[in-house]
Each structure stands twice: as structure tokens, then as C-alpha cells.
Amino acid sequence: MSDLAQPAPKPRASRARRLALRNLALAAPVVLLLLPFFVYPTVSFLLRAFDTPEGQPWYANFERFFTASAYGRVLAETLIISAWVTLATVLVAYPVAYVLARAPRRSKSWWALFILLPFWSSFLVRTFALVLILGRNGPLNDAAMAIGLVDSPMNLLFSRGAVLVGMTSVMTPFAVLTMIGVFERIDRFLPPAAETLGARPSQAFFRIYLPLSMPGVTAAALLVFVTSIGFFITPALLGSRYETMIAQPIIQQVLDLGNWSFAASMCVILFVITIAVFVLYDRLVGISSLVQQGGGQRRRGGFGARLATRVFDALGDGLAALGRLMPFRGGKGRAGARAVAGFSVFVLLVLNVPVLFLLPVSVTESAFVSWPPSGFTLQWYAQFFDMPIWLQGTTRSFLVAFGTSLLCFLIGVPAAFAMLRLSGRKAAALMVLIVSPMVLPKIVIAVGLFYLYARIGLVGTEIGLVLGHTVVALPYFFISLVAVLKSYNWRLDDAAASLGASPWRVRRHITLPLISTGLISSAIFAFVVSLDELNIALFTSGGLASTLPKLMWESATVGFTPLLAAVSTMFLLFLTVVVLSGLYLGRRR
């Protein structure tokens, strides 16, 4: 790296020590933030689960949880919903990732855009849109009755189906983005090569492409499941009381009942499930394939892998045999490919279109949401600007988001540089520390922070929000930035140093200008994550320092109104502009 070209060779030992110290110094800010505001609060809060009243055993809270049948049902429902969501998401995301990975360059950027937009746009707003669409007098029922499919409106909302649809649509972009990295690394000549060797298209897919894409599939499944079990927005808004998921009683215990210990015991259960899933994944697939995608899977010929291979081979051969029975189609019958592309387009539509329905509702004259909307008025927008509580929340959200991306920038950039220079194990440890807030249930982090803030007086402060949002947004910032730095040609730094630039001037004149767009786009994504973050504010804002998502959430739990549609529309519009500029900058390097 750049240090090699520095003049005046110094004694080896001291130089090595100096470099190690520098890497340590670069990584220090991140560690110093995450230890007190992520690791410590999470651990100390989880330990509260074992903090039982005098005379009761250490497991009293767990005993209570598992003996009350209500909680057992909640846990079972959480696992069942998460499992179904995982299955559905993988099945829906796979064809999209497949098409995206193989699309020619020009159409690829369009496919990517319509995956990235829903990925970055607000979870909350997208769930609102589904509430509207699936409602008794929503557009779906309206259309079904108009064409005479049904006589009276169907009850689509407040059911397990609605929850599954809602969670799957929220998780699909996430799953596609997880899969795409692996899919793009599969040599695109492998399936054609198999075909020249006598494989039918279906055999080429099931015997070659599918096994090679499995690391992406399992990684996506893992992350979707782990994220799903901590969900509460979707089940609360789209489900009935039978679809209560475990995050909901946690919120209730903390906010309404103030029962820290019992909430902690539920968080421990959530935490243990998460860890168990990771361990199971490691046994079956190998955790290393999460980090170094592609290639991890093959030498581990475990029982699962062998069984999967058998099943895939049989599926491919079966379909090929069916194909031979079909009347002979001229040329290369690409009906299958067309069906996959068509399905993918449908998925993208389902992911992107629902939010558009919020706009007409936001200008309706009626005081409640109905379809089709009647008349035209901007009164709901006016109302928003007349209500100090909304304006204050919005201002606070922007300030916090700005502070979050600034803090991410200040501690994340040096950490990313350190990460690239550190040796394997230290780099991995740093990566795990920074990224784990992304894969652990956010609600656990948020409650832990509340527990800490309550003792040190940070509840209801903007500083507290910024610190919490930074813990949550840093993984996104960091991953995006490391990707930028990995594609950076470090030889340029060497060249500049050999031409006489001091290390500082190399950074100033060469490195920073070249990575600046990637840096800004990473900061924009941190900004977006913070702007949309609900968990942290839900607990730590103490009702005094509400953020926009928290106000939207509270308003939605009371009922979905045209005012909320107006707020959502503005919020989404703003997010879209920010995300588009982030994507534009990110691509320009």
C-alpha cells in the first residue's frame, strides 16, 4: 500500500508497531461508540432477564413466559409467520435476482433501480399503502366488485395472509440484493456450456445454476428469517390479534407496563433464536459463505447438500423428460425464460406500485380513507403544516438524520480504512462488531438503549437519537463504503507517493477526490436509514422528542387517515429524491 513507497527506510520493528498503532487509532472511534452504545446496553439489558424478585429462581421470567399459553402462542406464531415469509420471499426474490444478474448492462440499471427504490423507501409507508389497498373499501375490493368477481367486499386485512403479503413485500428487495452478489459471480457461460454437452435448459438450470446459486439463497433466507422474527409494524397494522408477533408484547411490557425484566426475558428468547439460526446455518452451509460469497458451499458435502443435489438433479431431469414429450418447438424454445422475466416484472410492479395509491387518497375531500377518493383538496397537506407537533417531529428527524450521517462519516471512514489494512481475524472482528446491529433484532438494541438512557438521562434527547440511529445506520454506511474502497485502485496512491506526495497530500489530492462520490452516496444511505428508523425513537424519545416515523406510527395505530396519506406521500417523495441522488452519485465512479 501507500506506506511502502515512503522515503527513508526505518527499522522494521518500530515501523510495524507504528502501523499497528495507526490501524488501532483508525478503528478506535467506532469501537468507542459501539461498546457503550450497542454492546453494553444490549448485554446489560438482556441480563435483566435473570434479575428476579427475592425468593424466585433465576429462570422465573422464562417460566412465566412458557407457562402462560398466550405467550407460547405468540412465540409459535412468530416462528410460523417468519418461516412462511422466508419461504415466500426466497421464492419470489429468486427469479428477480436471476433476471437481474443476467440482464444486459443497459436494462440492468433499470431492474436495479426498481429493486433499490423499494429497498430504501420507508417500511412504514409501504405498509400503509398495503393497509389502503387491502382495505374493505380499498382499490382491490373496488376492482373485484366492479368486474363482478365478488358481490360484497372481501376481508383481506387483519389476517395471516395480509401479514405474509406485507412482510414478504417488504423483505423481497432485501433478499434480491443479498442473492444478487452470488448470482453475478456465476460464470454466465456455464448453463450454455451444459447445453452443448447435452443438457436440456431445465437440466442446465437445476444441475448447474441452482447448486451454484445456493449460497446466495441460504444467505438471503437466513437474513430474512432473522429480520422477520423481530417485526412488529406489519403484524400490528395488517394482522389481527391472532397474528401477534413477539416484538409486540416486548413493546407493551416496556412502554405500558414498565416490566423490564419480563421484556428482557422475551428479548433473550428472541436473541437465542437468532443465534440458534446462525449456528444452524453454520452447520448446514458454513458461515464463511456469508462473508466470502461464492465458493464456500462445495467442499462441505453434508447431508443437506447431498439431499439437495439429488432433489435438484431429479427436478431437472423430470422437467427435461416432460419437455421431450412436448411437441417439438422450432429453435430454442425460450418460453421458460420469458415466463421468468414476466414474473419478475410482475414482482417489481407489486413492489413499486402500491405506494402510488397514497397520492389520490391524500387529496380526498372525505375525512376518512375511501376508494375511489372523492373530490380534490389540499387541506390535509395544509393541516400538516399547521400542526406544530408534525413540524417539530419532521425538523427533529432531519436534524437527527443529518447528525447520524455526519457521525457515521466521522467514525466510519477511518474504520473502513483500518478494516482494509487489518489482518484477517482483526478485520473480521471489526466487521462483525459493526454489522451485527443489522442482523440482530432492532427491537433488542432499542430497548437496551432505552434501559441505558433511562439511567444516564439521554431519554428524549436528540443526542440520544443520533447515537442510537448511528448504531443502526453504520452497517449500511460501512458496507457501502468498504465496497467503494475495495474497488479503488491503491496503486494510484503508490504512484502519487512515488511522485513525491506526502501521505496526507496523497489522501487530499488523490484518494478523497476519487472516492468522494462513493463516500457521499454512503452518507446519503445512512441519512435515509436514520430518517426512516422507528425502533430507536419508539423507546428512547420518551414521548417528548418524537421523530416523524414515530408520529406516523402512532397515528397509524389509531387509524389510517387522509392526513397520514398526505404525510406519507411527502415523506416518500422526499426519500425517493434523496435515494435517487444517492444512487446516481454511487454509480458515477
Partner: protein
């Protein structure tokens, strides 16, 4: 499997265009049984497009492809019985070497014992016996190349196609594998269509070379003929070094032509060329090694001044300039010592049969 294994390929008016871009203009080509035919040309000349259409991986915009006299244009790749060696080998990374080689036989539902025997044979031919159980990403580039070859021949395909198979290897390995491919071709007698942009590879391996440029076939001939009698400026330029000298036909007769080099007071003799008449503007193509130092008293010599001289030991490369400014490259073989210093004057000579005359259409291009 007693019948003759090698097959003839016939291409009738095949074309391919993507929207308005023409990837391959209408092309006719016949490949004989057991022949080694190379598609040679710069990138973008359409050679890989043609190969992919023969393989059934690209759908032609028009024309037919016949193998063994049977029209296979509408057959999917999996039913053409063609072995393809891809540019980056396209080995299946989740299978061992032996599994890769067994794949085509498995797809053909051959009995297990037959498959095992055929795989063993193919691995032996490719000298891979000891690597059978390895995964392909543990192999060196040369070894991967051998696996790709073994996989493409193990099922005794009617035709083997190779798309720049040596492109990713270093020169030393390339030379070894060239020998290997030649040996395999002779041993198995397979018909091979081979794509490359490397003229040495093409010269060494091919029975015939199909030279391509700008989505068209330029010339199809055996290597020596293509070198000694190029029919166009492109062919003369692409294959080896050449002097392309603008000239005018002074006279024609049964013995040959007399040309005057444009801008020079020099006339040279050339072999007879039909269709040319006095006054035609032509290009005289002379290979550098066909020019020699004129003997004492020889008639019709070309006086020149040496501008630069490189002694490569056994080979001397000269740059020479004629009175009117025409530049010549001269390669002299087998001279003991430096024959001419830069700045000295020499007289060059060339046999009439070594002067290839390219007609007016070559001048225009």
C-alpha cells in the same frame, strides 16, 4: 459405435444482426470431415458469433446449418452433438474433474460402466489421470484447459468447436497446448472449428484458415496459400509482415506483368495476373523476407538506402528507403555479418513470383 465419427459441416448463407448492427454478414462455409478449420480475425470480425451459431447458442437471423447433411438450424444445442471449448473453459466449479468430464455422458444416460471407461480414456488422452478427484478451481490454467478439452471430446461429438481456448494462458503454456491440440486432432480425427485472433496459432494448427473482418469472410485458404497469395490488402496486412507498394501496370504479357512503383523510377516484374490491363493502379505486395540483396550485374534491381538495421543474430531486419521516399522492410536470413550499415546504399532484388499484385479494388480500400 462403429460408424465413422467425423462429420462434415455446411453453412449456408448464415447471418446475424442485433437490431441494426450486423454481427455476421451472409456467410457460406464448408468444413470437410476431419478438417481443422480456423476462424481468424480481429475482435468484432464475427468469428465468435459464427461459432456460437454453429454451437446452437446464438440464433441466426437467417441461413441454415447442416451437419452430416442434416439441417440442425432449429435444433437446440443439447441435441446437436457438438463439443464446445469455451474461452474461459466454463468448467462447473461444484463438480470434480471426473464429474465435469462425465457430465455429457450422464446427460446422454450412458450406462455407468461405459461412462467410467470413457471418462478414464478422455482423462488419459488429456493427461489428467491424477487430477480426476480435484475440484476445477484447484487447477492451473493449463490443467483447466485440458479438462475443458477432455469434456468436449469424451462423448465423441460430430464436431468440436473451440473459442480462443488458449487466450488466457501464457506463451509457454500456449505452445505446449498447441502441440497437444494438434496431437488430439490427429489421434481422434475429429473435425475442429477453432476461433482465434492469433495468427501463429492459426498458421500452426489449421488445415485451412477462414480469415474474417468486419462481419464478413475475407478469404478461406490453407495457411501457406493465405500467406503467399493473399487476395486483399486486409489479408496481406493481417497475416505476417508485408510491404504494400502502390504501383501502376506498365505492360502485361503471358510471362507476367511489369509494374512501376508510384513515385519511383523503379520497375519490377510480377507474376501474371488475370483481369489487369495497362494503366491499372494496383498494390504490389512483397513479404520482407522475399527481398534479397541483388547479385553483381543482376538486372531490374531496386536501389535503396538503408535507414536502420537490426542484427537479431541469424536474421537481419532492415528499413530501407527508395529515392522517391517509398519505405521498405527487408528481412535477410542467413547472413554471417552485418550486411549494411545505416546510411549505406544497397541494391535489392525480388523474384517475379514473389510479387503479389492486388487489383484496383484493394487500392481503393
Amino acid at each position: 459405435m462403429t460408424k465413422e465419427q467425423t462429420t462434415k459441416l455446411e453453412i449456408r448463407g448464415i447471418t446475424k444482426s442485433y437490431g441494426r448492427t450486423l454481427a455476421l454478414g451472409s456467410t457460406d462455409l464448408v468444413v470437410e470431415k476431419g478438417e481443422f478449420l480456423t476462424l481468424l480475425g480481429p475482435s468484432g470480425s464475427g468469428k465468435t458469433t459464427l461459432l456460437m451459431m454453429i454451437a446452437g447458442l446464438t440464433e441466426p437471423s437467417g441461413g441454415r446449418i447442416l451437419i452430416d447433411g442434416v439441417d440442425v438450424t432449429d435444433r437446440p444445442s443439447s441435441e446437436r452433438n457438438i463439443g464446445v471449448v469455451f474461452q474461459n473453459y466454463a468448467l462447473f466449479p461444484h463438480m470434480t474433474v471426473a464429474e465435469n468430464v462425465a457430465f455429457p455422458l450422464k446427460m446422454r444416460r450412458r450406462p455407468a460402466d461405459e461412462t467410467a471407461a470413457a471418462v478414464k480414456d478422455a482423462l488419459a488422452i488429456a493427461q489428467l489421470d491424477e487430477l480426476a478427484g480435484r475440484y476445477t478451481d484447484e487447477l492451473s490454467g493449463g490443467q483447466q484447459q485440458r479438462v475443458a478439452l477432455a469434456r468436449a471430446i469424451v462423448f465423441r461429438p460430430a464436431l468440436v468447436l473451440m473459442d480462443e481456448p488458449l487466450g488466457a494462458l501464457d506463451k509457454r503454456l500456449r505452445d505446449d497446448l498447441k502441440e497437444e491440440i494438434r496431437r488430439m486432432h490427429r489421434q481422434l480425427g475429429t473435425t475442429i472449428v477453432y476461433v482465434t485472433h492469433d495468427q501463429d496459432e492459426a498458421m500452426m494448427l489449421s488445415d485451412r484458415i477462414c480469415l474474417m473482418d468486419k462481419a464478413q469472410v475475407v478469404q478461406v485458404d490453407p495457411p501457406s496459400r493465405l500467406y503467399n497469395a493473399p487476395k486483399s490488402r486486409f489479408a496481406a496486412d493481417f497475416l505476417g509482415e508485408s510491404n504494400l507498394l502502390p504501383a501502376q501496370v506498365v505492360s502485361t504479357s503471358a510471362e507476367g506483368l511489369v509494374l512501376r512503383l508510384t513515385g519511383e523510377g523503379v520497375a519490377i516484374n510480377a507474376a501474371p495476373a488475370p483481369g489487369l490491363s495497362e494503366g491499372d493502379e494496383v498494390l504490389a505486395m512483397i513479404r520482407p523476407e522475399r527481398l534479397r540483396l541483388a547479385g553483381a550485374g543482376e538486372a531490374g534491381t531496386i536501389p535503396a538506402e538503408v535507414t536502420a538495421m537490426l542484427d537479431l543474430g541469424g536474421v537481419h531486419r532492415l528499413r530501407a528507403s527508395l529515392a522517391g521516399g517509398t519505405k521498405l522492410r527487408v528481412t535477410l536470413l542467413g547472413q554471417r555479418q552485418a550486411v549494411a550499415e545505416a546510411g549505406s546504399r544497397i541494391a535489392l532484388a525480388v523474384d517475379a513470383s514473389d510479387v503479389v499484385v492486388l487489383g484496383p479494388e484493394a487500392v481503393a480500400s
